[in-house]
């Protein structure tokens, strides 16, 4: 096993686990598509970063913040439903991103490339994933309550807007990290599928979020190993591994 592959595995495991944990909140918020949309919003940022020779995650993160701000602004200025706004920004970003990203790097931006993960990237991914973990842990009960009913949460004195804002920031950070592993098209799946799998199999909240984390980690681990032994593109293989677990969970659920 080369050092480089080890770095890929380490980033994958940390990012996969954090993505799964975050995803377990996304289903309850019915926000599953937001993660998907934000992956696309990241694309123009990744393109600019590639043109300027910067880290793609950095470019992605800046554009994600812009995207979130834009959605928030449009939500206030118009009375359109959030889903419609997210949809518009999602497609527009994809189009702009497609024009900006250099052709040679387009596939990497869309589907990820773990063969470029360096020691530095692995270390930063691990540290940021742990940070995401800790923050999710802090807001988890409040977010679950807000997911059940924002009125009930507010009546308990929870500042739902602030929690949602923190949550969106976490998603932005997660997506920025995740695009390196599976690319902007698939990063939403990295977040959503492990949680969907765990939900099929769990009866308790603890089982649900632990399951989400474990399936996130296992998908990245086995996906990366499959990539190593078959040479197939890592991003799609990771997501297909995750999808495989989901299908098994559907069968076990019955």
């Amino acid at each position: 096993m080369t050092d480089q592959f080890l770095f890929s595995l380490i980033s994958g495991i940390f990012i996969g686990g954090a993505a799964g944990y975050l995803g377990s909140l996304m289903l309850t918020k019915r926000m599953a598509l937001v993660g998907d949309a934000l992956g696309h919003v990241a694309l123009p940022g990744m393109g600019l970063a590639l043109l300027l020779g910067l880290d793609v995650s950095l470019g992605a993160f800046v554009f994600l913040l812009l995207g979130i701000f834009l959605i928030w602004l449009l939500e206030i200025k118009t009375s359109l439903p959030t889903e419609a706004l997210v949809g518009v920004i999602f497609v527009a970003s994809l189009a702009v991103g497609f024009l900006i990203v250099p052709e040679l790097e387009l596939l990497e931006a869309l589907f990820g490339d773990i063969s470029k993960v360096s020691f530095g990237t692995a270390a930063v991914s691990a540290v940021l994933s742990v940070a995401i973990f800790l923050v999710i842990g802090r807001i988890y009960p409040k977010m679950i309550l807000a997911g059940i009913s924002s009125d009930l949460a507010k009546s308990e004195g929870i500042n739902v807007k602030r929690q949602n804002f923190v949550y969106l920031l976490l998603i932005a950070l997660m997506v920025a990290l995740g695009v390196k592993i599976v690319g902007s098209l698939l990063v939403g799946a990295l977040v959503i599928i492990p949680a969907a799998t765990a939900r099929n199999l769990s009866k308790t909240l603890k089982g649900y979020y632990m399951g989400s984390i474990i399936f996130g980690v296992l998908s990245c681990l086995f996906g990366s190993l499959l990539f190593k032994f078959t040479g197939l593109p890592a991003g799609p293989v990771i997501i297909l591994t995750s999808t495989f677990f989901f299908l098994v969970s559907l069968i076990l659920k019955r």
């Binding site: 309850t28 009960p141 009913s149 009546s155 939900r199 909240l205 649900y208």
Partner: protein
């Protein structure tokens, strides 16, 4: 605030998205009262409860006595069944300790083994009891209750209202209750407030006449007043 008064509302108006929902409500609630809020669909009953809880913006005055602890029992929680969660974990969201939960389960007439059940697997009656129990966790002095499920069997012998009456006595509660069920008004309420954006009546239940009700509901209502000894 004067002695024994828990809530004082003066000239309360609520406007949501430029639509007037409530206009100029004034009333007060005394300690230990059961105030029922009656009105047709869209009358603003739930909005009134949420405003009193401090969730919605309003004009006018809403003043709670100092030290009053509020708890809210929402009408429905449609999303809760999407989340895998045991009853114990649901109580845990409110920070309830196991010993506290046990006492509450006794109060609402449920056995301890229900804690291990998944929320989504509860019957609607059990769920209604759990919602009430959940509201009791913080040891509130006032319960704001939005439209209890009427006509359902909540298990055991007692109705939701008998349970509420018992809890009210046990825990010295003041209750504000939104309902459609007129029998509650006569059995449980000490005061009632009829609402259709404006306040149409504010009285003791006995004064709630058929004319008043038909005015409130648009003449479509039949009234069966139970006789009480």
């Amino acid at each position: 605030m004067e002695n024994g008064i828990v809530l004082k509302v003066e000239n309360l108006s609520v406007e949501l998205e430029k639509e007037k929902i409530l206009e100029n409500l004034s009333f007060e609630v005394k300690e230990g009262e059961v105030l029922t809020i009656l009105g047709p669909n869209g009358a603003g009953k739930t909005v009134l409860l949420k405003t009193l809880l401090g969730i919605l913006p309003f004009r006018g005055k809403v003043e709670w006595a100092s030290g009053v602890k509020l708890s809210y029992v929402p009408q429905r929680l449609p999303f809760i069944k999407d989340i895998p969660m045991s009853v114990q974990e649901f109580f845990g969201l409110k920070g309830a300790l196991r010993s506290g939960i046990k006492e509450i389960l006794d109060s609402i007439g449920l056995e301890e083994d229900i804690l291990r059940k998944k929320i989504g697997d509860l019957s609607s009656g059990q769920f209604q009891r759990i919602l009430i129990g959940w509201a009791l966790v913080s040891n509130p002095s006032v319960l704001l209750f939005d439209e209890p499920m009427t006509g359902i069997d909540i298990g055991g012998q007692e109705s939701v209202y008998e349970l509420l009456e018992k809890l009210k006595k046990e825990r010295n509660l003041t209750i504000l209750l939104v309902t459609h069920d007129l029998s509650v008004v006569y059995e449980l309420a000490t005061r009632c407030l009829c609402l259709n954006k404006k306040m149409l009546c504010y009285s003791v239940p006995k004064e709630l006449t058929a004319e008043r009700l038909s005015q409130l509901y648009g003449g479509e209502i039949k009234l069966y007043q139970h006789s009480h000894d």
